[in-house]
């Protein structure tokens, strides 16, 4: 079965009024990293997922999920 990780990063980021570059600076990664995670091209490491969670002030499960949003 093909595994996929869904994320709400784009929605949460825009809700917080952050650009990709702004979030990248908060997390301490490149804009490319945020872009690839948002687009589902790249599955982040646990470390990066936790950093994103901390920067956005949301639990990891709210940002990432195994099922798509309803």
């Amino acid at each position: 079965m093909a595994e996929r990780l869904y994320n709400r990063l784009l929605a949460i980021r825009t809700e917080r009024g952050l650009t990709q570059a702004g979030l990248a600076e908060l997390v301490g990664v490149s804009r490319k990293t945020i872009n690839t995670v948002e687009n589902g091209i790249f599955i982040p490491s646990t470390l990066l997922a936790l950093k994103l969670s901390r920067a956005l002030g949301r639990p990891v499960e709210e940002i990432f999920s195994l099922e798509p949003d309803e």
Partner: protein, 148 residues
């Protein structure tokens, strides 16, 4: 450019690398046509071509392994070499492995019909390995940098 942040500099370096690597890979591959057109050439010209190819291959291998903010300090280097780039590079290396294997198999089949020298065989396998790794890594980086 004077007021660029580390993040902007890293982004610029990543974009430049993503643009350059596939072009270099294709150019390296295409340049091999010249190498094999040396029938009847004086020995010293053939030797020069071989040396030039070897230097080029080593430079490209180093670019594949290390290119990205090498002289810009640890922070920029870390941003350029983030986990996306590391994963893309690993996939590039895998593509290089398969490129080399396919070239080796093709050469093996070719030797059943035509003799191929050891040096030529190494040349073809190394070229296929380096070029496919460079092209794959560069294309993945380009995709990662694409907006939207």
């Amino acid at each position: 450019m004077a007021n660029e942040t580390d993040f902007e500099i890293a982004d610029r370096i990543s974009r430049r690398r993503a643009r350059m690597l596939p072009v270099l890979g294709v150019y390296f591959l295409a340049g091999q046509a010249v190498f094999f057109r040396h029938v009847g050439e004086p020995e010293r010209i053939a030797s020069f071509k071989i040396s030039a190819w070897l230097v080029w291959a080593v430079v490209l291998l180093l670019a594949l392994a290390f290119a990205g903010g090498q002289f810009r300090g640890a922070k920029i280097r870390a941003l350029v070499e983030d986990e996306v780039s590391r994963a893309n590079r690993a996939r590039g290396y895998a593509a290089g492995f398969w490129g080399g294997c396919i070239a080796a198999i093709a050469l093996y089949v070719l030797t059943m019909f035509e003799p191929v020298g050891g040096r030529e065989a190494i040349h073809i396998i190394l070229t296929a390995t380096v070029a496919s790794a460079l092209i794959r890594f560069g294309m993945l980086e380009r995709r990662a940098l694409r907006d939207g």
